[in-house]
């Protein structure tokens, strides 16, 4: 969101709305003079939904990342924690370089990322139409709700043995675990998004001559699209969770596999670096999905996505 221009009129402060009616001649109910007027002073730091200046936008993340980094450095360089539990930042970086140059970490990254994207894309393909239909038609919602809500509360981890029996331990099983992990959350969130579409939009479409198919494809889908994109952004994080779960069970490749193997040899630095990589990939996908969202729904006005 752009910052409020300085020319914009000052927003009414809450106390202005409390002031008594101008034309009201009647005596105040309470004869006692009001002791204290409630006035809100403007603030840069604590401004609510009003944007912050650029310098603060730069400084705050640096502090946010810097403080944990400093604590980490003190703990490790200062020798407060053993190297085997918490290796120093520089150690983790040098191990990381080693992993890339000598251990072909890029292959694992690629394996994991494609599993996440595959399962995630599949979940999207399934959940978007089902969510739209359930949100739109009460009948479809009644049909699928018992299944969707019940299964949503069953932990995917509990299904993993079953999935291994059904799909073996090859790639299919990993895609399936990621898919199952997020598809129901996707559906539930998309259903909510559809239900939040204001009636007026649907009514306008009806009175312009829409049939139900047009309503679904030309009104409900675009109206829900910003929320769908947000849902995707939230749930891709979940996809990584389930991927690591899948790779812990059975895999010869992937970041989860790396983590588990490094743990066996107490290579804490490697574990940390792999986690770091997952975080960075997460940030990257989040950024890309955000860009995609802005590209697909430029009309959508919401301060910060």
């Amino acid at each position: 969101m752009t910052e409020f221009s300085s020319k914009a009129p000052e927003p009414t402060t809450p106390d202005e709305e409390r002031s008594p009616n101008q034309g009201n001649i009647a005596a105040p109910i309470n004869k006692q003079p009001t002791k204290k007027r409630l006035r809100l002073r403007p603030s840069t730091f604590w401004s609510v939904r009003r944007g912050i200046p650029t310098w603060l936008k730069i400084v705050m993340p640096i502090i946010g990342i810097g403080i944990p980094l400093i604590i980490w450095s003190i703990l490790s360089y200062g020798g407060f924690v053993k190297d085997i539990f918490l290796p120093a930042p520089t150690r983790v970086i040098s191990t990381g370089i080693e992993l890339f140059t000598e251990d072909e970490l890029i292959k694992d990254i690629f394996a994991s990322a494609s599993r996440v994207l595959g399962g995630f894309a599949l979940a999207g393909l399934v959940s978007i139409p089902i969510g739209l239909l359930m949100g739109t038609f009460e009948s479809i919602a009644s049909l699928l709700n018992p299944f969707v809500s019940a299964v949503r509360y069953m932990p995917v981890a509990a299904f993993v043995p079953l999935i291994v029996i059904w799909a073996g331990i090859d790639e299919t099983a990993k895609y399936l675990i990621v898919f199952l992990g997020i598809v129901l959350y996707n559906i539930a969130m998309i259903v909510d998004a559809v239900r939040a579409i204001p009636d007026e939009l649907l009514n306008a479409a009806y009175t312009l001559g829409s049939n139900r198919f047009v309503l679904l494809s030309k009104v409900i889908f675009p109206a829900a699209l910003p929320s769908i994109m947000n849902t995707m952004r939230v749930n891709i994080a979940g996809a990584w969770n389930f991927l690591i779960l899948a790779e812990l069970i059975a895999a010869e490749q992937g970041l989860g596999f790396r983590i588990i193997r490094s743990q066996r040899y107490l290579q804490t630095d490697r574990v940390l670096f792999c986690i770091l990589i997952i975080g960075i990939i997460g940030l990257l996908t989040d950024f890309l999905l955000k860009q995609l969202g802005m590209f697909l729904t430029p009309w959508y006005e919401q301060g910060e996505r």
């Binding site: 204001p198 009514n203 009175t207 312009l208 001559g209 006005e301």
Partner: protein
């Protein structure tokens, strides 16, 4: 049906057909269930609109005006009674009854022109015809310059004019308007009242407009339906004996003020 730009003509499709009212509502009632008890909101409502009439419906808040309009639009079904468009009973919504809502109902993902085009595409107009109509109706509402703007870039009054253009472009048999200027400030409201008067003079659209602004009702309409509340009934069908063309200063003429006093009294009853 022939896709022409009638604009001013009220084409009698078949010459031998009997003259039906554009819109008629017979014996219409609506009850809701409220806290386990039936609540009658509309009771035996009869309404008739002839072609090219501009009719306003006034009534106290909560008397069922919006409910009535939604039923006419087919967005809600009546408990009893029926709605006819040109003599034909209708159930469910259709492009023959266009509607403008109190709150802004433009599709936020479409530009103003694309919003207007929405209904035209559904009706199967060719690209050239669509472009022609969009240009014409955006001109009618004075938004030609904003054809490519998104709704979020428009002011409240402009949004409402765009919504009116969208409904007009479909050239429905009847235009239903539910307090279209209710959310606007007094000045913009007066501008849009004058604007609606001009729109009617240019298009001779058959319009049923709900308002609780008595002045607005008298200024715009040829007849006013006055409603009673609890249950909602038509109390009176009042002819407005003012010249067809009106300027805003008519609002201070004695005849106007007398009508206003009369209707206000009826409502306050």
């Amino acid at each position: 049906m022939a896709k022409t730009l009638p604009l001013t003509t009220n084409s009698g499709d078949s010459p031998q057909a009997v003259e039906h009212p554009k819109l008629s509502v017979h014996g219409l009632s609506k009850s809701f269930v409220y806290q386990g008890n039936p609540l009658t909101v509309l009771d035996d409502v009869d309404i008739e609109l002839k072609a090219n009439e501009f009719i306003c419906l006034v009534g106290a808040s909560g008397c069922g005006k919006s409910t009535l309009l939604k039923i006419i639009a087919g967005l809600m079904s009546p408990t009893t009674g029926e709605v006819r468009v040109e003599g034909e009973a209708v159930e469910g919504p259709g492009s023959d009854r266009g509607m403008v809502f109190q709150s802004y109902s433009l599709f936020p993902w479409l530009t103003v022109a694309k919003n207007v085009e929405f209904g035209l595409k559904l009706q199967g107009f060719s690209k050239a015809e669509r472009r022609e109509r969009i240009a014409y109706y955006l001109d009618v509402v004075g938004l030609s310059r904003f054809a490519n703007a998104l709704p979020k870039q428009l002011s409240g009054g402009m949004k409402q004019r765009a919504a009116i253009a969208r409904a007009l472009a479909n050239e429905p048999e009847v235009m239903l308007m539910d307090e279209p200027f209710g959310a606007l400030d007094a000045q913009t409201k007066e501008q849009l009242q004058q604007f609606m008067q001009e729109v009617w003079e240019r298009t001779h659209m058959t319009i049923l407009m709900v308002t609780h602004d008595v002045e607005e009702a008298i200024f715009l309409s040829h007849r006013v339906y006055i409603m009673d509340a609890h249950p909602g009934r038509i109390r009176e069908n009042l002819h407005i004996p003012l010249p067809e063309h009106r300027e805003l200063d008519i609002k201070i003429m004695p005849q106007f003020l007398e009508l206003k006093r009369y209707i206000t009294n009826q409502l306050g009853h």
